[in-house]
């Protein structure tokens, strides 16, 4: 098993983000998520902590093909 993590400093020094169509995202993509952790009231006077999604940024889609192949196996 090979694992990767993005070198963040290098990423933000030299690159920028641009808007993209949501259909571009696939299972296996490396992404960055912006979210807010909030408590919401649910039925029965209870509360639940959820992570509300605000934005999704595609960092790298080159692993997606590998992921698709492995799913089919």
């Amino acid at each position: 098993m090979y694992l990767f993590t993005v070198d963040e400093l290098q990423l933000y020094d030299t690159n920028r983000f641009e808007p993209v169509d949501p259909v571009r995202f696939r299972v296996g993509d490396i992404v960055e998520v912006q979210a807010t952790v909030v408590a919401i009231p649910i039925k029965g006077n209870k509360f639940k902590t959820i992570a509300q999604l605000h934005s999704l940024a595609l960092i790298d889609g080159s692993f997606t093909e590998v992921s698709t192949k492995q799913t089919k196996l």
């Binding site: 090979y2 694992l3 990767f4 993590t5 993005v6 070198d7 963040e8 290098q10 990423l11 030299t14 690159n15 920028r16 983000f17 641009e18 808007p19 993209v20 169509d21 949501p22 259909v23 571009r24 995202f25 696939r26 299972v27 296996g28 993509d29 490396i30 992404v31 960055e32 998520v33 979210a35 952790v37 909030v38 408590a39 649910i42 006077n45 209870k46 509360f47 639940k48 902590t49 959820i50 992570a51 509300q52 999604l53 605000h54 934005s55 999704l56 940024a57 595609l58 960092i59 790298d60 692993f63």
Partner: protein
């Protein structure tokens, strides 16, 4: 924080405006950075739990499907007028609702607000520096930069 997408679905279990939402499930494949993220979310959950009467907060449990810890992030398509009586309604983005199905579901009690929007971006290498994202290669506890 960076993740790998596990599941990117539109939840249609309940076809009502109040529940319809877009979600993304992400995993960090047990990498320490992602474990830190889960620890932080557990900490925030504890902070929030202290704001409500004891026992009223549902327990926080990250999903472990299929085999690694993962977190689901979601945003509802509609806001109830009961929760936000004066909020401004905004149109659905064409990329999010290309066939106008969600637009046709806007009813008296529900509207699409700025809080319901999810923004989508991709990393674009700058023209000055054409480098792709660099990855730190982790194998058998040893770290090598490639």
């Amino acid at each position: 924080m960076h993740f790998m997408i596990l599941q990117d679905t539109i939840s249609t279990a309940k076809r009502t405006q109040g529940y319809l939402r877009q979600t993304v499930q992400v995993t960090g494949l047990n990498l320490p950075l992602f474990e830190t993220c889960i620890d932080n979310m557990q900490h925030l959950h504890q902070v929030l739990s202290r704001q409500v009467p004891e026992g009223d907060m549902e327990p926080f449990a990250p999903s472990t499907s299929p085999s690694y810890p993962s977190i689901e992030f979601g945003t509802r398509y509609f806001t109830s007028r009961r929760d936000d009586p004066l909020g401004a309604a905004t149109p659905f983005d064409h990329a999010v609702d290309p066939k106008g199905i969600l637009t046709s579901m806007i009813a008296d009690g529900y509207f699409h607000s700025a809080d319901n929007k999810v923004l989508y971006y991709r990393l674009a290498p700058s023209s000055a520096n054409n480098q792709q994202p660099r990855y730190v290669f982790v194998y058998s506890g040893r770290t090598t930069v490639i």
